[in-house]
Symmetry: C2
Subunit: 436 residues, 2 copies
């Protein structure tokens, strides 16, 4: 294929988006099933390409320019590939997010307003390492009628290109150009300037990378720079449950954004709780950094002010003893990143106080912060997790890739009828929206 | 009162926002009724302050630095003031937008996810001229549990200050600092830099002003730079209805964003339609600028390429004859601003084709574009109209000032249970959300 410029790719995506919006549910879901089959059939080719990427990454790892975590994320296996195929089918199975009547209102006789879900248009997605992200994001965009510009990490370039080509070919029935791949870093900067053509950018990567995107575009950005998640162990709590949750939230997968970084422990239970969790963490190789009161009870490095605002993404945890639920909330409000916070407590009342006092995207009671994820939340998959407050929050699935359009049906209605001294009053009668 | 710096005002608003979020529906609605009463009682003082503002504006008008439209918008009358009081009551009457369960899902036995509506936090609002905007925006923010920083135009400074003081005093039961007024242009620039403290900015003003805001902040911005609205008169249409709609959409209030700027007329009806609308427009003093084919039929100035992308905001209209519905859609997609477009046609099928092919925030069939407004749409009032696709679109009322928070209730649930080779499957069973 002849190489297009970034501007040409974006224009093609824009044209495709307008057509894609009116493709039927069955068409979009059918194209997704064809994509799943194509990936299934191309297993060998995909794994070969991935081998090349992994070999190069391992050289960089030996040269000290790369971490083992990144190599692990990059590597595909037949099992991982099968779960990608399953994920595409599960996105196809989701209810159509388009064309739903979200609200309807009779403004007057013969004048009916409805609010209908529609696609955003063109989504730009910039992500690192994991090649499964490419398939996940492309699938969610197609299901929700959006064109998408994909930019993966250079470390996965061979794998990404093979996956992209199969997605493109398998979805040939869809409007040409709905999915685009860009590969150079310079193309990203060009993309960020196209605020009249791209409706949303979703970056996934390091916090420095996400901040760079946020600071260098006037396109709306959904995502999160940091995931500084907290578990607060309350005075009245089941300490065995608290230990299990604190352990799961840190150790089950420390490299991800919904892993816990700071434990806050009520002073009433600190002496009993801390030695037990310290032993569990020690067995798993977790380094503990504690405040003064924590270090009075267990062995730990000294936590500095910097620790409270650090996403370790690794087997490191900071611990602080607090004198009240209010102090825990105050700590999270001051140092947190509005991602996910969990309280372990036997008191529903105290759980409610904790959860309602925080403006994080996910708040939890007696559950591991690691649940904060599109698949676990039942969204099918996620394009990313947003810690902003605008549009979609937390794990972003299909609904977050739609917006709405007001549509008004009249019979020659004029505003003049409803204005001035003899203004006719509006009915403003709520109608039943389509059931979800 | 001692004068606070902008940074102090914003910090106070942030603290107030966290408290305001947990105030009851009755408390917030009650404070609004107290505000309505206070404005009602202070009629004389408000009108006096407004007289001073209007006098100064009239001097500027004579000096040629000001337009009559702006003076008209600025001026309050007892009738206008009464409608402001009524509007505050109508916002108080609206259903509570907070604490609604938007969706709920059982992830597994004892593990329940819910999506609950919550306030955004701190809203910044920057607007011009009309002092009723200040009361409208403050009322919507309070009803939706948001703190608000208000910046009005300097031309309305006396009126705004009196209104602000009454709002503040009448809402003394609300968390101190929930409403803030800033007055200097320099304060706006300071505000735009506070992306860690302000959750949303809603500018209302000239398109140059809105673009300046969009280009100079990484805070999410909702609003619209231009309102280039279209009315398309289709081949199969009731031409008398078309004339009335084209007239209402232009003449009923030409200075506002939802007034029509360009008429598109199908060639099959142009010869019959154009002379009639031209006569109606002429009687109202509307200047017509037409393309070649329009000027073959009626007298008109020549429309240039510039006209198709101009928001006149005045008694000027551009007219273009098109050869098909598709050409009309093409024109709007190329030149429009995604605000509001209306088709006049007898054919439901053609209406649907028109409406579904456009990604404008409002699309209409046989109705005047002037209906595109929060009050007429039944939202109680509006903080502004958004032509973006992210978060809220079209007229933005209470729902647009909320976001959602995921809350997960468990009983010691760990992610490890649902991972690996023996992973327990999720239930992902949809629960009935709270009825609206």
């Amino acid at each position: 294929m002849s190489e297009q410029t970034t501007a040409e790719k974006v224009s093609a995506a824009q044209r495709a988006a307008l057509q894609l919006a009116s493709r039927s549910d069955a068409d979009r879901a059918g194209a997704l099933r064809a994509i799943a089959d194509a990936i299934d059939d191309a297993q060998e080719e995909i794994l070969d390409a991935n081998d090349t990427d992994v070999e190069r990454a391992e050289e960089l790892l030996e040269a000290g320019e790369y971490s083992q975590v990144l190599v692990d994320r990059l590597e595909l296996t037949p099992t991982k590939l099968q779960s990608i195929v399953d994920m595409v089918h599960s996105v196809a199975d989701q209810r159509d997010p388009l064309g739903r009547t979200l609200a309807a209102r009779r403004l007057d006789e013969g004048l009916t307003l409805s609010k209908r879900s529609v696609p955003l248009g063109v989504v730009g997605s910039i992500f690192e390492s994991r090649p499964d992200a490419l398939v996940q994001i492309a699938s969610l965009c197609l299901r929700s009628g959006n064109a998408v510009i994909l930019k993966g990490g250079s470390e996965a370039s061979k794998t990404n290109r093979v996956l992209f080509e199969h997605i493109r070919e398998a979805s040939a029935e869809m409007p040409d150009g709905w999915v685009q791949l860009i590969e150079a870093r310079a193309d990203v900067d060009e993309l960020l300037g196209m605020d009249d053509k791209i409706d949303l950018v979703m970056p996934r990567g390091s916090s420095a990378f996400v901040r760079y995107i946020q600071d260098n575009t006037s396109i709306p950005v959904l995502g999160h720079a940091e995931g500084i998640c907290h578990v607060y162990v309350d005075a009245e709590s089941d300490l065995s449950m608290a230990v299990d949750i604190a352990y799961d939230a840190k150790v089950q997968y420390p490299a991800v954004c919904n892993a816990v970084e700071t434990l806050l422990v009520h002073e009433a239970v600190a002496a009993e709780f801390l030695p037990v969790i310290a032993e569990r963490y020690e067995d798993a190789g977790v380094e503990i950094r504690g405040d003064e009161r924590t270090r009075d009870i267990i062995d730990a490095e000294t936590a500095t002010a910097e620790d409270w605002k650090t996403e370790y993404g690794d087997l490191v945890v900071s611990i602080r003893v607090v004198d009240s639920l209010a102090s825990a909330v105050e700590h999270i409000t001051t140092h947190g990143s509005k991602h996910t916070e969990s309280i372990v407590t036997d008191s529903d009342d105290r759980a409610q106080r904790f959860m309602r006092s925080l403006d994080s995207s996910s708040v939890m009671h007696n559950a591991s912060t690691r649940f904060s994820d599109g698949y676990r939340y039942g969204l099918g998959a996620e394009v990313g997790i947003s810690t902003g407050k605008i549009h979609a929050r937390g794990p972003v699935g299909l609904d977050g890739l739609t917006t709405y359009q007001f549509s008004l049906e009249g019979d020659g209605h004029l505003v003049d009828t409803y204005a001035g001294a003899d203004a006719k009053p509006f009915l403003h009668e709520e109608l039943e929206p389509e059931s979800e």
